[in-house]
């Protein structure tokens, strides 16, 4: 694999984030190119495949609403099946986007600029998928408004002491704030697309979303402050969301769930799975859309390092759960964990451990971190592993302390189509995104180019900026 030779930024003394010494214009052109292509045949193929799976999702959900949750493999004692597994899986994926856009922004990790738009889009679409499951699994979807504190025919209010209600607030706030954050970041780029538009329809469409942005420094001042504050708000928010998701489990009295390690363990797992999903999505995209000089190997390597860190945290949490169960001296707790490892779902447990604990260890090696194929394959393993983690946790329900109440959950065809279909929903939205919205934050990437710094000196200074530049006066007509 060819690696780009690292040259150093003249001011920061570090390797530049965007390689090949791109100019501002080249950045705009490179990012806008996929949105202005003449030939979308490949896109249509991908999009229609995604729409097909979206159709499967819609059919599954419609049948669910018609017939009820009995079409799923739920039973007694496993009253919570794939709906919660899929919900936690999708919400977790979303977390990497916020981590990249907010947490890395606060830590001034400039490398995030090349991937934050993409990762935030992934967040929003993943959270949409996640929100589907609590929405549809309630059985009587026509009274879903009972989860919100709005007056209803029973004159009752939701129970604010329940983690399930906290979840409603946490995930819907998370979705709203992520969307606002994403949109604020997009405004200058919509303006760029507006100003590049060749057709009137495009100009109007992008123009509406650009809100008449004209790059005024007086606006940028407030804009940058808003962006910083949103990052500062989103950082504790993202931690709170998966903490509260983990409360759905941890607050209930089920052996294997009722542990204090759940919040940090869930947050680490969420970031772990999310970064894997970012890699899965961006590795093909940077190749197809020729953005390899903007999303460089260095970006991928940094993400691999975060996967290694969070994957090891998750592995530590698996070990610590067992230790605490053993150390507690509580035989039911001990049974719950031994049962995970050797019980009915041992197969799922060992898939989870191999994918989540062993896979990231490859990233100790620089060669692996910089190998695109390895990254892509391993990221898919992580995605699979993290789905199984939630499955393993949820299946604690199958082994009640009373052996006569033990059961086994098997998914029906409808469980499977709903899960596969949710990927259709995700990718339909994703393909629409890459077709119509700049997938790299154009304005932000420009700020990390060396020439964006007012103190930057081109080596061949002298050309340009003098009277001979031929200033002329023209009156614009409008």
């Amino acid at each position: 694999m060819a690696t780009v030779k690292d040259t150093l930024d003249p001011i920061k003394g570090r390797a530049p984030l965007v390689t090949s010494g791109a100019t501002f214009k080249e950045i705009t052109d490179a990012v806008a190119a996929p949105l202005e292509a003449d030939n979308y045949r490949a896109w249509w193929v991908c999009f229609l495949v995604a729409v097909f799976f979206l159709g499967i999702f819609l059919v599954s959900v419609s049948y669910l609403i018609w017939e009820g949750t009995g079409i799923w493999g739920l039973n007694n004692p496993v009253g919570w099946g794939w709906a919660i597994v899929n919900f936690v899986f999708w919400v977790g994926i979303g977390h990497a986007g916020t981590l990249i856009s907010a947490v890395l922004f606060l830590f001034r990790q400039d490398w995030r600029t090349s991937i934050n738009r993409y990762a935030e889009a992934m967040t929003i679409f993943a959270v949409i998928c996640a929100l589907m499951f609590p929405g549809i699994h309630v059985g009587r979807i026509w009274v879903i408004y009972w989860v919100f504190p709005i007056p209803n025919q029973m004159d009752m209010w939701p129970n604010f002491m329940s983690p399930l209600l906290w979840d409603v607030f946490a995930v819907s706030t998370y979705f709203t704030v992520s969307l606002l954050f994403w949109y604020v970041g997009l405004i200058p780029d919509f303006a760029t697309m507006r100003d590049r538009s060749k057709t009137k329809a495009r100009k109007i469409a992008y123009g509406i979303f650009a809100l008449g942005w004209r790059g005024s420094m007086r606006h940028w001042l407030n804009y940058e402050r808003t962006y910083l504050i949103l990052a500062a708000l989103a950082t504790p928010l993202v931690l709170s969301v998966h903490t509260i998701v983990s409360f759905d489990f941890a607050v209930s009295n089920v052996y294997g769930w009722h542990t204090t390690i759940f919040p940090p363990y869930f947050v680490a797992g969420a970031i772990f799975s999310g970064f894997a999903m970012v890699l899965t999505l961006i590795i093909p995209a940077r190749k197809i859309f020729k953005l390899e000089h903007i999303v460089t190997t260095k970006h991928l390597e940094n993400m691999a390092k975060i996967i290694l860190l969070t994957g090891s945290l998750v592995g530590y949490a698996y070990g610590m759960e067992f230790f605490i169960a053993m150390y507690s001296g509580n035989q039911y707790e001990q049974f719950a964990f031994a049962n995970r490892m050797f019980g009915d779902y041992a197969w799922a447990y060992w898939i989870m451990v191999s994918c989540n604990v062993i896979t990231p260890q490859f990233f100790w090696f620089k060669k692996m971190r910089r190998n695109v194929v390895v990254l892509f394959v391993l990221s898919i393993f992580v995605n699979i592993g993290m789905w199984f983690e939630r499955f393993v946790i949820t299946m604690s329900l199958s082994a009640d302390p009373l052996p006569s109440a033990h059961g086994y959950f098997s998914p029906t065809i409808w469980d499977i189509t709903t899960l596969i279909g949710s990927f259709g929903l995700f990718f339909t939205l994703f393909f629409l995104f890459i077709r119509f919205i700049p997938m790299v934050a154009i304005a932000e990437v420009k700020t990390v180019l060396p020439q964006a710094d007012p103190h930057w000196h081109p080596e061949d200074e002298g050309a340009g900026h003098s009277d001979e530049a031929g200033s002329q006066e023209v009156t614009a007509h409008g």
Binding site: P188, T192, W220, L221, P454
Partner: protein, 178 residues
């Protein structure tokens, strides 16, 4: 139709370095009604322009406090006052259990304050603006940097302002109609 009013004079620059020094000069000349437009936020340009700090943090603080109070009051009123139900033997006023929702609403209101506060302060959306009358101004979202001095500025003088822009190394100068 009468001749259109002139909005101001627009100067184009090629680099962040040029616009930075140009802004410092325009500021020191004492102009008040002027603006710099750039494809991305140029670091430190607000200082070079002499702009006061943003008001956004105060809006966010106010909204976040409001959100927190609203969230807590909502939970207290619904659970303790309006329809008290004993759940799991917990006290009616189980305030620690109200913290997650209080926190979420604090963040939600704060974020609304940040985004819509920014729209308000910046007067967005403003779909039309005199500067859009300039063909060349379209490059402001690509790779060019602009300074516009408005005709209503007391120091504005067609000849003097143009001379200033020339001295500062503008690569193109034009008048923009209202």
């Amino acid at each position: 139709m009468a001749e259109k009013k002139i909005y101001g004079m627009l100067a184009e620059f090629d680099s962040t370095r040029a616009i930075y020094h140009a802004c410092e000069e325009v500021r020191d000349e004492g102009y008040k009604h002027w603006d710099a437009c750039t494809p991305f936020p140029v670091h430190g340009l607000d200082k070079a322009m002499g702009l006061p700090p943003s008001k956004i943090p105060w809006i966010v603080l106010g909204m976040a406090i409001l959100g927190g109070i609203a969230g807590f009051t909502l939970q207290w009123w619904t659970t303790v006052i309006d329809y008290p139900i004993l759940i799991a033997g917990k006290p009616m006023f189980s305030w620690p259990a109200f913290m997650p929702v209080t926190f979420e609403l604090t963040v939600l209101f704060g974020a609304f304050g940040a985004v819509f506060g920014m729209f308000g302060v910046n007067r967005l959306p403003t779909f039309n603006h005199p500067l859009f009358n300039s063909e060349r101004f379209q490059a402001v979202t690509d790779d060019k940097f602009f300074i516009a001095i408005e005709a209503r500025d007391p120091l504005y003088d067609k000849r003097k302002t143009k001379k200033l822009f020339k001295k500062l190394g503008a690569t193109h100068i034009e008048l923009v109609e209202e």
